[in-house]
Amino acid sequence: MKIISSSLSIFFLIVSFPTAAQDIAVRAGVLYTGAGQAIENGVVVIADGLVTAVGPASEVSIPEGMQVIDAAVATPGLIDARSTLGLSGAMNQPNDQDQLERSAAIQPELRAIDAYNPRERLIEWVREHGVTTVHAGHGPGEIISGQTLIAKTSGDTVEQAVFEPAYAVSATLGEGATGHSRSSPGNRSKAVAMLREQLIKAQAYRTGLETAAGDDEKSAPDRDLGLETLVAVLDGKMPMVIEVNRHNDIMTALRLADEFGFGLILAGASDAHLLIEPIKAAGVPVILHPTMIRGWGNAETSHFSFTTAARLLEAGIPVALQSGYEGYVPKTRVVLFEAAMLLGYGVSFEQALDLVTAAPAKILGIDDRVGSLEVGKHGDVALFDGDPFEFTSHVIGTVIEGRRVSESVR
């Protein structure tokens, strides 16, 4: 796995910086940097795609000749902490739905880069709404549905768009893992037994590899793409993002992480408000369901609350927002709107902004590059004509790595 990722990242390094100018300055009536106080009359200077200066206009000078964009409000480019964008297309026809492969319950070998469509109109849609980074990939619906990636919402090829090609393994516990037409897993106990068995196989595979490395490697086990991926999970190189909503399933996820020592990120987690203490004690971050999730009726998400984000924040649990997966209309959610909807429910403006910028960057471990506007980080900016969260305001532009990638008013 290590070999694969390093060769991938070399590959992406070469192709992901085309030669077009990536110099731009943003002047904002109010600049939210995501690192410290808001700046009135703030300026961000971006050169070669990276932030080179941030501060009040009185202190930061814009290099002569640099393109300047003015906005009432600017924030770091928004981050969607979990989605199926690029795999689950707008048409919602079988030929544009690649977020879920139904042939088997556990397929960690399915790479997101082999399915991600960077020209999908829903990616354009969220880009026009200020979203610059997405954690996208295989969705909920099988015990392990595949891998995820982290990409910018610009780029004509996956190679240009992606900057974490194999980020996490996407898993599901609860009804989501048993809602297929096969005989197994038919219930929660079986699903967890199958997952544990596979992780134990991966442990043995890893031991086999280690033993073989000690001698002449002839005794190495045959290469297995799925187990290779699970070894990366066991080694902590890839987190396991588990879509899990019912309270007992959340506890199962914590128990599994404890047993196998993998890096766990809870996703969905609609019952998290019932389990503040155990989640906090486990030190596990939560990528919370969209605020406007339709968890009604007898669905296992039916206990969701608009106040869960506020309660997790109050407890100090790391939390971010996601667009998630939508199977019907609307085909994707927009994290800008999902954050906005929390404002009436105990979440402050600053917290709401954090939930879709710095917080997801930290949870995903990409805060060295994105999530805030600080010198040396990517020049990703969302521009607004008013309070970003008011539904009557507009996104008036999006900048990714110093390039204006949207001029539409949304």
Partner: protein
């Protein structure tokens, strides 16, 4: 029925006597009456379940007996919201047996104890058009409800002049109703089936008309009876339609048979706004977070809202609950403003415009003296995401109170906040709205 009526009258008498003593004057809020200018420091006087007076504090004489409710500065009072298209109450209409089932009534499937009603009240909604799904060309009779207290659906039902529960007829074209036989496989077949049904209904009506005595009349046919009510203009057609050509097909059908019709959803209204306005068809519009999810919604665009307004068409909004949750219906009007609609038109689209589309405009939709005392108290501007619904009043009774623990649980969600099955209205009748809905 007569007996029932007198019981109701008696109990009504008791209630109204107690509420005479509790004539209420709400004072200090910004009042948005809809039928007139906003009032910065307004007064709303409510008596016997009706609006008695509205105006500026200096202009309204508050009855001496009135209980005065002083509201916080910044609070807003607006009329109870009218939702012209909802599936609350786990309703169902037609089943899988065929594409045209006008005989199926929402009345017979509505769960009056569903938390969906409470969610609607938590969103400030006081009147609702509850509809069957859109997986049929004709999926049944809709039901206009007033969200007053009641233990049976008939307690909530608005009434036609003849006393029957009032409602429209749900129709659909486009992709949702295209399925294996006996459902249509194409758009042309869809229109042909609908036309044949209405021609049959015309003949049925003619036979009844021509009959010289009871024996001459054709045997009763519940489906044709409902279509005849449509042809007679009693029952309004609520027509699910998205794509520009489907919208014009619906108008063509209306013109042929002389329906009274409201177009619903209308993802691509922005492409045919002038045609819709010229045809004088009102539109019940939905605005959604992103386009797609099915082919006919691929070009959904919020600019339909300003396009229709500018073309001069009458526009209302709807939740299509569960497509959007009744609890945040106000957000949709703000999205309309975001897309370029005027504030006035967006407010109208949540209130009077919708009431008119349901033939309820003389009773609800504005804070006009004499109308039902249906109103909402908001913590701030209706278009702000920071605003919460504080209280919802129906006919002078408080039906939602954010300070009440049980009401707050429904408004905010949480463990066991919602009743089993709430939200299932969209799933019934084997419609297309499955949770994994790929390929619809």
């Amino acid at each position: 029925m007569k007996l029932l009526l007198s019981v109701v009258l008696l109990s009504g008498l008791v209630v109204s006597m107690s509420s005479i003593a509790e004539t209420r004057a709400f004072v200090g809020a910004r009042v948005i009456p809809i039928d007139g200018q906003e009032i910065a420091d307004g007064v709303l006087v409510v008596e016997d379940g009706r609006i008695r007076a509205v105006g500026a504090r200096a202009d309204v004489r508050i009855p001496r007996a009135a209980a005065i409710v002083e509201l916080e500065p910044g609070t807003v009072i607006m009329p109870g919201i009218v939702d012209t298209h909802s599936h609350v109450g786990e309703v169902a209409g037609a089943d899988r047996s065929g594409p045209i089932q006008p005989e199926a009534r929402v009345l017979d499937s509505f769960n009056v104890r569903s938390s969906g009603i409470k969610r609607a009240l938590a969103g400030g909604i006081t009147s609702v058009n509850v509809m069957p799904g859109s997986g049929h060309l004709v999926s049944g009779q809709t039901l206009y409800l007033k969200l007053r207290e009641g233990s049976a659906v008939t307690d909530l039902a608005y009434r036609f002049d003849d006393g029957a529960p009032a409602g429209g007829l749900k129709m659909a074209n486009g992709t949702n109703s295209r399925r294996d036989a006996p459902f249509p496989g194409t758009r042309a077949k869809s229109a042909a089936l609908v036309r044949a049904s209405y021609i049959k209904a015309r003949e049925y009506a003619d036979k009844i008309e021509r009959a010289e005595n009871e024996d001459d009349k054709p045997p009763r046919d519940l489906g044709l009876e409902a279509l005849v009510e449509v042809l007679a203009g009693k029952r309004v057609v609520h027509f699910h339609s998205h794509r520009h050509d489907d919208l014009l097909t619906a108008i063509r059908l209306r013109d042929e048979f002389g329906f009274r019709m409201v177009l619903h959803h209308t993802s691509e209204a922005w492409r045919v706004a002038d045609e819709i306005a010229a045809a004088d068809v009102p539109v019940s519009l939905i605005l959604i977070d992103s386009p797609g999810g099915k082919l006919e919604a691929l070009y959904l665009d919020a600019r339909s809202a300003p396009a229709l307004e500018q073309a001069g068409a009458k526009v209302a909004f709807h939740t299509d609950d569960w497509i959007t949750d009744s609890r945040y219906f106000l957000r949709m009007a703000a999205m309309g403003v975001r897309a370029g609609m005027s504030r006035e038109a967006a407010l109208l689209a949540m209130t009077q415009a919708g009431a008119d589309m349901l033939d309820l405009g003389e009773r609800v939709g504005s804070l006009s003296p004499g109308k039902d005392a249906d109103f909402v108290i908001l913590s701030g501007d209706p278009f702000s995401v920071y605003t919460r619904v504080l209280e919802t009043w129906v006919e002078g009774e408080r039906r939602f109170d954010l300070d009440d623990a049980a009401d707050r649980l429904v408004a905010e969600g949480g463990f066991n906040a919602l009743s089993d099955g709430d939200g299932a209205g969209h799933l019934h009748g084997q419609g297309p709205h499955t949770l994994t809905g790929a390929g619809q």
